[in-house]
Symmetry: C2
Subunit: 366 residues, 2 copies
Amino acid sequence: MLQVPTRYLHGPGPSPVPPSVLNALSQPCIGHMDPVFMQIMNEVRQMMQKVFQTENEMTLACSGTGSAGAEMLVDNLVEPGDVCLVGINGVFGGRLTDKAKRAGGTVHNMNADWGQVFSQDAIIAEVERLRPKIVIFVHAETSTGVCQPFDRLAEAVHAHDGLLVMDCVTSFAGLPVKIDPWGIDAAYSGTQKCLSCPPGLSPVTLSERAMHKVRNRKSTVNSWYLDLNLVGNYWTGNRAYHHTAPINMNYALHEALRLVLEEGLEPRFVRHRRVHEMLKAELEKRGFSYASDPQNSLPMLNLVNIPAGVENEAGIRKRLLDEFNLEIGGGLGTLAGKCWRIGLMGHGAREENLRLILDALDQVLA
Amino acid sequence: MLQVPTRYLHGPGPSPVPPSVLNALSQPCIGHMDPVFMQIMNEVRQMMQKVFQTENEMTLACSGTGSAGAEMLVDNLVEPGDVCLVGINGVFGGRLTDKAKRAGGTVHNMNADWGQVFSQDAIIAEVERLRPKIVIFVHAETSTGVCQPFDRLAEAVHAHDGLLVMDCVTSFAGLPVKIDPWGIDAAYSGTQKCLSCPPGLSPVTLSERAMHKVRNRKSTVNSWYLDLNLVGNYWTGNRAYHHTAPINMNYALHEALRLVLEEGLEPRFVRHRRVHEMLKAELEKRGFSYASDPQNSLPMLNLVNIPAGVENEAGIRKRLLDEFNLEIGGGLGTLAGKCWRIGLMGHGAREENLRLILDALDQVLA
């Protein structure tokens, strides 16, 4: 029988999963067309709408991880030849660029240093110059720990008949993600970050403007599995069988969303901010410096410079895991070997976890 | 808190999930790059190789349901313009055709009546005529309950430098699926049929011949999420991060595979056949007739004609679910309203389940 150790998950995700979510995960499996499961899907959809702060009917849990959700949006929204504007200030903007190209898009990039954000004025100017059909930026860059402001972009994008798409994998349920107030046309997240649910599903939402484009495409969507004209009918509309949804993962998502709404969005955001400030103060006391823009640092993902004198950073992380069951993340891409990523996501963003993180760091760095 | 009823799952899948698999599912979540998870992935891979009866290194659990596994193979193996031969004798051949077209393939179909199989001689003749790059047939058609013979096809396909691809979603772990002995180049399954694991992953295997084609493609694979040049490195090779695998679903698959191998492949196949024969005898005693080719009927999926006199078949199935917690399947496509599909898959293929199925049918049809 499988024996899995309990880890303290303070890397870039997955985050610690509360017992009631694991309990929901292990409820009896039922059929994907069972009326009870249809009801569960409805409730999952309604709860996701609340966390996304949207009334979008097309809100669903894509049957794959966050990367599948990203691909669902790009594949459905980009038609061959569409001009796309994609921001790259970390790993995930690069991946979105790759996906948009595979969908046939003509991709223009804006680039910023890793750990920095884009000024909204600069994005708006580029939108006015390029008049892109699709504009994609990452709200919370998991590879760099910064939060991209998104509240002023929609008007310019819509003025040129474009769609505004947001990656909120790491911000969803940990920071305000205001789909309707900000005029976002499509967004995707993952379950294993601030939702504190195991990985395997991707919360996705699309506005009516976005769905109008999907329904009136001239070309077929690259993917059958992710084609919203098909999947959408299973989640909404006539409930036609498309694929067998990951039943038990949807149970877990249901419970994770229930916990988020029971706590309340605003108290949850405040908790993430508060625990982050406490960690930051303690880390700075120990001489750590942050590598992300201080004006736009994420609370749930702390990008810190590896202290001078640490020669084998992977060895340090291995000791944290082996001796303390503590997972923190290494740097990705250009930050590999330079930074660590300390996650305080969802169920992991609690005062009582800070002591463990700090004690372990103190011991391995002593 | 979510309350899910216990259903007796005797439709076309999902199948009943044993307690130890649900228990594995709810083990603590750990990181997708954790050495413990890498070890679990290795063991999952080794156990899948045994059930697939293959030594293929590229054997992995695709992070989506069976439909994603199908798409992974088609997207990676079909290049634009490739001549594909796809058999349609049920719903899933039609879907594979759709997927192969989206991948850019020039698709030729062979068609057989739903409930019938193709003669291997006829397939071989068509292969010799068309010289297709890709040949795809469905081993166990979940929509019709027949088993397509596959043991004599490879030589002709390989003689014209083609690849032989098999859908074994419903046969895997319930009937012999002999990847290497039959010369199959690529195959995919799902977790929620004879493996008796919740849906959410797709066991996939590719031969070295198939991977040679993937590695030497001239065009980019449509999908980033399913691109085997990327995913393959996470499951084998250098273990480079690609996406966050559905961690807990892999625990469940690990335990489901362990149970299969603990029972033994041959005893498991014999059990499926024995329980099917018992059900068949009892159903025929009650006047039911089978709608699938009797020489090639699947043991795990019984396609029966709805008895004369039943006017509201959906109402009967609703009563079975509401009054007996028993799920059986309706007909799909051209068989809708004409047939029922009674599944005896994995943990559901047990003598003690037959009494429940037959008693419930007797009562609702009385």
